[in-house]
């Protein structure tokens, strides 16, 4: 983890790419999507076969912090032909990229957000809340100052208005709270241990069955 951060800082990156961000998060205890970084069209097809269809493909670079707007995301790709097509489209749309991320499509109708920020007086703060595209409009979030105890993390889950979404919901099982608690504590510990990390956004964190999976992630570095 230290190497990823050091390498990025030595290259004067302002942020980690999605791929790098998820490597850091996975090590901190946040479950992430199964994914591989493809450099060629052939590699992309091979990875898609390994991961299993359908897949999602995303242009991957530390410069791409707003991927939706840049046309570098292709979802629900069902065949090798679609994967090849998407690879070419992404190469055309994106400028300089590290490669194309081939990742599992996570199915779930509940989306949450977790994150980290630094307060000048209180230090690293962990956020949990309702995720997806309406996060900033609904502002249904709770905060705790790191390091978090299990009790702190459990309280965060209880403080959002939409906390009932964590229970059984429209035929889906209740969310694995232990997994969430572990992820929140892990994010807080990242902030405590690594001054290099300025902010983290994990949005969306999708609930699939009872498991949580980070589908997109962004780690912003200190300059």
């Amino acid at each position: 983890m230290k190497e990823i951060l050091e390498k990025a800082i030595s290259k004067k990156q302002k942020a980690l790419s999605e791929y790098e961000s998820k490597l850091v998060l996975a090590e901190a205890g946040v479950p992430v999507t199964r994914e591989k970084l493809a450099r060629t069209r052939e590699e992309a097809v091979r990875f898609a076969d390994e991961i299993g269809y359908p897949v999602a493909m995303k242009g991957c670079s530390h410069l791409l912090t707003h991927k939706t707007e840049s046309g570098v995301i292709h979802l629900n790709l069902d065949s090798p032909e679609e994967v090849e097509g998407a690879f070419e489209a992404i190469e055309k749309a994106a400028g300089q990229i590290d490669g194309v991320l081939v990742q599992e499509m996570v199915k779930g109708n509940r989306e949450f957000v977790i994150g980290l920020t630094r307060d000048p007086q209180f230090g690293p703060c962990v956020m949990f809340g309702l995720g997806g595209i309406f996060t900033e409009v609904l502002k249904d979030v709770s905060f705790r100052i790191a390091p978090l105890t299990e009790e702190d993390a459990e309280e965060m889950l209880e403080e959002i208005r939409s906390k009932e979404l964590l229970d059984e919901f429209r035929g889906s099982p209740a969310v694995d709270r232990d997994m969430l608690v572990k992820a929140l504590i892990g994010i807080g510990d990242l902030g405590e241990r690594y001054d290099e990390i300025a902010e983290i956004d994990v949005n969306p964190l999708i609930v699939s069955g009872s498991r949580i999976v980070a589908v997109d992630a962004l780690v912003i570095l200190h300059q």
Binding site: T117, P120, V141, I145, L218
Partner: protein
């Protein structure tokens, strides 16, 4: 720190007989309050002020000086601070303004002062503050206090201690307590907090035998971690009102998380996490402490409402549920006992006793409710339409202590009457039904905070992590 609150000798630097001299009011109030310590005035002529002997510098004062209170123009302050250091004065209160808040010149003077503070091993309160009020030894170094104006506030000793970043708030609290049954123990106005901050004072109040409740009015928090670590050690109720809902932080933020983590949201979670009761209004600083000073803590959510007017029962029920508490379901046994009193309109919660006139009826009902397993606390709303109601409430306060359950009492009468009864009989009456319900809610919050602090402490003992934590010090 104790010498700030209990100094045996004080130098008031800047006090003179020039008209409108502010520092002279400090000599005036210490003389008026007959403070037992030695108070000296320091001014250019070395003249005595309000009976306090005068000297031209602190160096000339014979013998030991515990505390220097400085109120002169900012540019003269650094020299005086150095002289205090040379004299061996360890405690300073700088009431003058014009330092870190006063541009680059003020900033450089502040740095010069900081240098002397560390060189001579002094502690500094302020600058830009009022300093200390201690009702127990009648020491007050607030400037501008006119003798006679706050006599009631100073005359009685209380158990509520304050940390304030505004003199105006201090004055409001003192004024409000004139018609209350609790009052101030100590007040510290800490200004710019260049050395001593709210955490240092919390720590002092925590060990202070005459402080039961701590109230804070904060305009900023400079060291948030220190505040949280201090708060986790304190068992006394810690109430805070903070201003400043800024969105400055969110403008500079690159991530969505940072955008939503404004200053206010972070302070809110710091309070929840470290066991600080966050107040919703300034008036709660003086209205809520009495629930802690006069009643046991609320140890559960289940509330019984008792009234002699049905309307208030319904209103109270709404407020209780909205505050996160529950209207308890009285058991058949409790209802049967209530029924036997033969007076009640309604034996279910809210209990309505109608126009009962016998004191014993009130007492029987209080006893039945307080002794019931399913009742954690009471919200009595009896209209004082007969003096007998007051007598019954007086006994209720005693019964609450006996059963270890609180009652937040509101009498639905005109505010003048409420204040008059509270002052005369010294009963913890709240001024509205909303205030009484809120008092129960914060009492329960404090109960949960104490549990949390105990768990936190136990966990750290198990981890062998003795450095990081200290046992919460008992009251």
């Amino acid at each position: 720190m104790d010498k700030f609150f209990n100094p045996e000798s004080i130098a008031v630097v800047g006090a003179s007989n020039t008209p409108f001299n502010l520092a002279a009011t400090i000599c005036g109030i210490t003389t008026y309050m007959k403070y037992s310590g030695n108070v000296y005035a320091v001014n250019r002529k070395g003249e005595a002020v309000h009976g306090c002997p005068g000297y031209t510098t602190v160096m000339d004062i014979p013998g030991n000086v515990d505390l220097a209170v400085i109120l002169i123009s900012a540019k003269q302050v650094p020299t005086v601070v150095r002289q205090c250091g040379e004299k061996g004065i360890k405690h300073l209160i700088i009431e003058s303004a014009g330092f870190s808040e006063g541009g680059p010149d003020g900033q450089s003077m502040q740095e010069e002062i900081n240098g002397y503070i560390s060189r001579y091993g002094m502690r500094l309160m302020g600058p830009n503050c009022l300093g200390i009020l201690n009702t127990h030894n009648r020491f007050c170094c607030f400037y501008g206090i006119i003798p006679g104006k706050y006599d009631t506030g100073f005359a009685t000793t209380g158990s509520i201690s304050y940390i304030i970043q505004s003199g105006g708030i201090g004055a409001l609290i003192l004024d409000s307590f004139q018609k209350d049954m609790v009052t101030v123990s100590k007040m510290a106005s800490i200004g710019n907090k260049s050395d001593i901050d709210e955490s240092d004072i919390i720590d002092y109040y925590n060990g202070d035998a005459s402080t039961e409740v701590i109230g804070m009015y904060l305009e900023n928090v400079q060291n948030g971690r220190k505040l949280m670590n201090t708060a986790m050690k304190v068992k006394k109720p810690l109430l805070a009102f903070k201003v400043g809902r800024t969105s400055e932080g969110s403008q500079a933020a690159a991530s969505h998380t940072a955008g939503m983590a404004n200053n206010d949201a972070v302070f809110e979670c710091a309070c929840r996490q470290s066991g600080i009761i966050r107040l919703k209004s300034i008036s709660e600083l003086h209205s809520l402490p009495k629930i802690f000073a006069s009643m046991p803590l609320l140890r559960g959510r289940r509330i019984a409402v008792m009234t002699n007017s049905g309307a208030f029962g319904g209103i109270a029920a709404d407020l209780i549920v909205e505050s996160g508490m529950e209207m308890t379901r009285l058991s058949p046994e409790t209802q049967a006992k209530l029924d036997k009193t033969g007076q009640l309109f309604n034996v279910k919660n809210p209990v309505d006793l109608g126009p009962a006139m016998a004191k014993q009826t009130f007492l029987d009902i209080f006893d039945i409710l307080l002794s019931a397993e399913e009742v954690d606390g009471l919200l009595p709303v009896p209209n004082v339409w007969q003096d007998v109601v007051i007598e019954a409430i007086l006994d209720l306060v005693e019964m609450c202590r006996k059963y270890g359950k609180p009652a937040a009492i509101y009498v639905p009468n005109a505010i003048d009457r409420i204040l008059q009864i509270r002052e005369k009989y010294r009963i913890p009456l709240f001024e509205s039904l909303e205030e009484a319900t809120r008092a129960l809610a914060v009492s329960y919050q404090q109960f949960r905070f104490l549990k949390k602090k105990e768990r936190f402490h136990e966990r750290n003992i198990r981890k062998g992590d003795f450095e990081k934590t200290e046992s919460p010090v008992g009251v």
